[in-house]
Symmetry: C2
Subunit: 261 residues, 2 copies
């Protein structure tokens, strides 16, 4: 009896998760809306046999996608971490003509007790996908921001350079997020690359404010369109004034790419 009980040990599991955010009201569980966290907690609870509480590293908004969201949960379970991942993926793709679900567990790893996907994260990388072609593509409308006026990628690159480093990003904080102790963050890298009809923005840093990447993208798009000179990025940052920065780029172009530990 004791032996059997020992086998079912307390485990702390870190999941890496990819999802198509199109059909969800974002990551964070909500009582009456379909969310990624809510959907996963329901499945994990079924699989593990206890009510699972899942802690995600990032509360992605409705329509925002993930290639590598991180989330952790713990509890007494007899199944190994990979078994949990397989069971979730099977459940998500079951009875689907497409053979793949809207959510996919990319990996599941056992972590030491006390590990927490959000609090232990040291940084994140986001990708923002802009499609820059004269005609919008019907089939990409949920997966990128379609800008039909020509964008000057070099101007966007010049402006992006001003973002790198530790600084106050208050100008890119939208109203409506959780209160923050400080609006200072460190951006490690902010690259802008053109590849055929797409402009890919990659931003990594130690933390991001509410809508920060989308507001940066909106500002870069306005710079690319020639509505502002690239150097204005510096003044916008110094102003610490949201109204000086550009518009909020839509959610469907944003992908949470990786969470660092």
């Amino acid at each position: 009896m004791i032996e059997c009980f020992r086998m079912i040990e307390e485990k702390n599991i870190l999941l890496t998760i990819a999802y198509d955010g199109t059909g969800f009201f974002g990551w964070q569980r909500q009582p009456h809306a379909r969310t990624v966290c809510g959907e996963l907690e329901r499945l994990l609870s079924d699989i593990c046999g206890f009510p699972v509480e899942l802690f995600g590293a990032s509360r992605t908004d409705a329509g925002v996608h993930a290639l590598g969201q991180s989330a952790s949960f713990s509890g007494r379970m007899g199944i190994p971490a990979e078994g949990v991942a397989r069971a979730v993926n099977d459940a998500l793709s079951q009875n689907r003509l497409e053979r793949i679900g809207e959510i996919q567990i990319v990996s599941a790893l056992e972590k030491p007790p006390g590990f927490h996907a959000r609090y232990d994260a040291t940084g994140k990388r986001y990708r923002y996908r802009i499609r820059n072609a004269r005609k919008a593509d019907l089939f990409l409308r949920k997966y990128c921001y379609q800008v039909t006026e020509p964008l000057d990628v070099n101007a966007m690159k010049t402006a992006a350079d001003f973002l790198v480093g530790e600084q106050d990003f208050r100008c890119f904080l939208s109203a409506g997020g959780n209160p923050q102790k400080t609006t200072v963050r460190r951006i490690e890298n902010c690259s802008v690359e053109k590849k055929e009809d797409e402009i890919l923005l990659s931003v990594s840093g130690n933390g991001f404010l509410y809508h920060m990447v989308r507001n940066i993208t909106g500002t870069l798009v306005e710079i690319g369109a020639g509505k502002r000179p690239p150097e204005e990025m510096k003044q916008i940052l110094e102003s610490r004034d949201r109204s000086r920065a550009g518009h909020t780029a839509p959610p469907q172009g944003l992908y949470l790419e990786e969470v660092f530990y």
Copy 2:
């Protein structure tokens, strides 16, 4: 009074339409389901001021996409054809973050009285998109058929050659379609091309039976996977027996590309 009435002349308009079939129960209007035809008839009736009946060249199934569906309608209207197209596109993209609707009118042309998008069509071209990579792509699950076992494209090409010409395609007719006078059709062209992770099938012909392209694709996939030799395609055709052919490939890989007149 008479003059004013003369200006509002009877017009017959041919629309070329692209759509993402994901959110629709196919093309054909249905009383309680959201369909492409139903959605367009509702909008066109609002714009034209009379109840529009739209005739599509092809009744695409639920989940099937179109790059160039054709549909015609007629009635007394004061607006030019291009005006109708613009009004529909504006209505479809209005209030959308994505700036583009699920349906797009690609062009609108005036045609002589009596022209009918279905009866006057002389042929069609379909495209079928297979993704052949070891891992399924989460973001393409509504836009292609994801086959994770490796496919031999040359075997598929060899098999596809047997399909060209005028022959009885009864073996590729699924149960459940409208009754047909004959199951003889003429396939003008059937090409299989590999491009990176995708295998693109292009089939044009003077007419297609219910599920014909999807059943051809399912059979070609089985040949590509080595489950049948390419030469079996000839025997399948000669058998005129649906049960001899392969499975029905899923709808989300199929695109109605063009209707010929």
